[in-house]
């Protein structure tokens, strides 16, 4: 791979209930990390709902996004950000989140987008 790899920000915007798009976004984050590409992940809008603790997806016979999220640090994926206004909108207590995640306000989110070579919206 390139010596100066391009960096990517992945913006994940749907809840785990909205089909498989949230999983596809996470799979893409993991693939970039596995291939040593710089990658950051922003949970934006409804996407913050992926961070709800105690999701019992096995009750619906579905795979668990939470387990996959918890594995992110194992792949050295530590650039994790959350849409702070959206988190407030959904009444999310981010202190309950198992991941080390940085809340961002609107202007900071825009800055984050501009800091990366590529932004992929899921």
């Amino acid at each position: 791979m390139e010596t100066n790899p391009k960096s990517t920000l992945i913006v994940t915007r749907r809840s785990p209930c909205q089909g498989g798009i949230a999983k596809s976004a996470l799979d893409t984050v993991l693939a970039m990390a596995v291939f040593d590409q710089p990658v950051a992940l922003l949970f934006q809008g409804e996407g913050v709902l992926q961070l709800l603790p105690d999701q019992a997806t096995e009750l619906l016979g579905r795979g668990s996004l939470s387990r996959q999220l918890e594995s992110l640090p194992l792949y050295d994926i530590d650039s994790l950000f959350v849409d702070a206004p959206a988190a407030r909108h959904y009444g999310l207590d981010l202190t309950l989140c198992a991941l080390a995640i940085s809340p961002l306000e609107d202007s900071q989110i825009r800055d984050l987008m501009l800091q990366h070579h590529t932004v992929l919206g899921f």
């Binding site: 809008g45 409804e46 959206a86 609107d106 825009r110 987008m113 070579h117 932004v119």
Partner: protein
Amino acid sequence: MILHTLSAAPGDSVYLDCLRFVGEEDALLLVGSGVYGALKGSASEAALLDCGARLFILSAHAEAAGVRNVSGLFTMLDMAGFVTLTEQYPRQLAWH
């Protein structure tokens, strides 16, 4: 500089979120259901005209949806124009 391609319908939360992050150096292209945002006299039209970015609309999609008499502040594009925009903007972010 970001090219935002907005295909979500004006009622969708993704549509509103897009407008939160659009800047004055950006371009915003309405495609798919996003073209409804340009309906004359609508609240979404007002929000778009206020967002500060260069505004574009894919003409074939607007015509297909019956979105006509669009404000002159939207530049109508064909597919070649869409490609040209992607040449000019190093980042493209799809809102869907």
